[in-house]
């Protein structure tokens, strides 16, 4: 019944949503709570098909508020619990996410971005960057992995559980409807067999013994009476967030050393950026590529180091400046010769259009 879902390495060809469900299973997730929304639905569809075979659970809730708060409940009970959503669901999720930030609850979620604002499209965008990095009434105490390939969906879904349970900040796989729905090959594996140890989960409530007699009672709260009390509670969280950054931050860079122009992108768009860079290199153009994998914490030092060599940037995103805002913040105080942007809210990029654009400008 509870045999390992994945043994050995297995090359597969499947959708991103399916990859996420398998990754959660491989990571030893115990329970998923969720509410239907396109393009995330199949994460639940696959999970509900596989879960009973491996002694796992699922609850379909009445809305995303409930999905978020029940997931928090599952985590408080010590389970590797997770959820997934998109678009307006991500909006509703901000409330439970902010509680998780405040109470250091290792919430794990996959966000499959769709068009926005409002209901928009069920297909694709990169318009949930603001919300996933800095949403809610808080300080953005989150870890956000922006994935580009199905291999990364699988890898970072597994990693998210470990990041969340190590540092106790809500952790996200930020992908999109294209990644959710398209099929591509990747390798599934059992993390332990690759030497990835799953971080043990611990219950916040319901430990053995009588509270107040054998052990202190867990008194968990997110409300404080006065300003100073809140300040005292928040500053250590900020310090822990900052102390984590160097261990957690991830990025990808190629051909930046001699570059005359560097394409900045994240997520699935970075596939077009990388392909364009490669084609342009073949033609002799000195094009570089830089892509943050973690949007929170942002690879700020790394981008600054690159900017010191070449700061002629072309930034592309399927939103109107949500990614650009993070980049601009990271580059504040360092000289930048040029930051050109192409914003295509809700629309994807092709390598061809980027090649044409850059070639035309050179």
């Amino acid at each position: 019944m509870t045999d390992k879902a994945i043994q050995g390495e297995k090359r597969v060809f499947m959708t991103g949503n399916e990859a996420l469900a398998w990754a959660a299973l491989a990571a030893g997730a115990d329970i998923m709570y969720g509410y239907p929304i396109t393009p995330q639905n199949e994460v639940m569809h696959y999970w509900t098909r596989m879960a009973p075979k491996y002694g796992k659970k699922f609850l379909q809730t009445e809305d995303e508020l409930s999905a978020g708060f029940t997931t928090i409940g599952g985590i408080l009970a010590g389970k590797r619990a997770f959820s997934a959503t998109a678009g307006p669901g991500t909006t509703l999720f901000q409330e439970p996410i902010s509680m998780a930030e405040m109470m250091r609850i290792p919430l794990v979620m996959a966000i499959m971005q769709r068009g926005g604002p409002s209901t928009a499209t069920v297909i694709y965008s990169q318009q949930e960057v603001n919300m996933v990095t800095y949403g809610g009434n808080g300080e953005g105490w989150r870890v956000v992995y922006s994935t580009a390939t199905h291999q990364e969906l699988y890898d970072y879904m597994i990693k998210s559980f470990n990041t969340a349970w190590t540092y106790r900040f809500p952790t996200f796989v930020l992908a999109d409807g294209y990644q959710a729905k398209m099929r591509e090959p990747f390798v599934m594996y059992d993390p332990e067999e690759r030497g990835i140890k799953m971080v043990e989960t611990k219950p916040f409530v319901g430990l053995p013994g009588v509270p107040g007699v054998d052990r202190p009672a867990a008194h968990l709260r997110n409300t404080y009476s006065v300003e100073e009390e809140l300040y005292e509670a928040l500053m250590p969280i900020q310090q822990e967030y900052e102390a984590m950054i160097d261990q957690v931050v991830e990025w990808e860079e190629e051909n930046v050393d001699d570059a005359e122009v560097i394409i900045l992108s994240h997520g699935v768009v970075s596939r077009a950026a990388k392909a364009a860079k490669n084609r342009l290199r073949e033609k002799g153009y000195k094009v570089g590529y830089f892509r943050p994998i973690t949007l929170r914490p942002f690879p700020e030092k790394q981008l600054q180091r690159v900017a010191a060599k070449c700061s002629n940037f072309l930034l592309i995103e399927s939103a109107i400046g949500q990614f650009a805002r993070l980049v601009k913040e990271a580059l504040f105080n360092v000289p930048v010769s040029r930051l050109e942007t192409i914003y295509k809210p809700g629309v994807g990029f092709t390598a061809e259009e980027l090649v044409e654009k850059i070639e035309g400008a050179c």
């Binding site: 809305d63 508020l65 009970a77 319901g206 009588v210 509270p211 009672a217 867990a218 008194h219």
Partner: protein, 250 residues
């Protein structure tokens, strides 16, 4: 001086005297609940969830694992815990605003799904914590900060009948009752049966408690009791609305 002997064993003596206003019904409900926790012997496996509202003041009230959540969201947090670890007993403790307004979808759907948790709604006819605004349970004609000329059912609706609603929708195995701080023996019986219903794993357990908020009602002791016993009782009837042995059509 606090007389520790008079306190239920499960109370956290370090946080007494408690933080509720004098004459507040919350204290009475929590006293009874403490006695039940002791009598039934569930201190070691209870998770107490408190809402935002004056219930949050109970976040460290008991020597019981306690989670203070968001306004209206205590029910789903308790559902999430229970689903993940059915050995635990979970009580969601909230106000009428949390239960019947902002969190009503959670109450309704948890009842529909017959979640094996217990929910307590403390009905004080207003939003106590935020300074006395109109609540779903505010009585017709009752003046609050947001119904300064009295609640007009024509434009502002009529008092929500929570237990009646839950009783109408919960499947077999549910326990539903309304008690009052005006009748603590009956209230204790209801709360205890609800706790036992969860232990038995029969279904959703729900108790509304008619309670007082003298601070926002601006009432003295006598007026407070009169309001609970004479005014509130016109709309809200105490009694058991559902017991787990009752058959229901699937």
């Amino acid at each position: 001086m606090v007389n520790k002997l008079a306190m239920p064993k499960s109370w956290n003596a370090d946080t007494k005297p408690h933080k509720f206003c004098p004459g507040c019904g919350h204290g009475i409900v929590l006293k009874i609940l403490g006695e039940i926790i002791d009598e039934v012997g569930i201190q070691n496996r209870l998770v107490f969830g408190v809402d935002i509202g004056c219930s949050l003041l109970a976040w460290d009230f008991f020597n019981v694992d306690t989670v203070q959540t968001h306004h209206g969201r205590t029910t789903p947090v308790m559902v999430g815990i229970k689903r993940a670890n059915p050995d635990l007993l979970c009580i969601a403790y909230m106000g009428d605003g949390g239960g019947y307004a902002i969190g009503s979808q959670h109450l309704v759907n948890s009842a529909f799904r017959n979640e094996k948790i217990m929910a307590i709604v403390v009905n004080n006819c207003n939003y106590g914590m935020t300074g006395g605004q109109m609540a779903p349970t505010t009585l017709p004609g009752q003046k609050t900060e947001t119904s300064p000329y009295g609640r007009d059912p024509e434009t502002m609706g009529s008092p929500t009948l929570g237990p009646e609603m839950v009783a109408a929708i919960a499947p077999a195995g549910a326990y539903v009752a309304r008690g009052s701080i005006g009748n603590v023996r009956q209230l204790k019986r209801f709360l205890k049966k609800a706790v036992e219903n969860q232990i038995a794993g029969n279904g959703f357990s729900f108790v509304e408690v008619m309670s007082s908020c003298p601070t926002n009602w601006r009432t003295n002791a006598k007026q407070t009791w009169d309001y609970v016993e004479k005014e509130m009782s016109k709309y809200f009837k105490t009694g058991e609305l559902r017991t787990p042995d009752e058959k229901r059509e699937a």
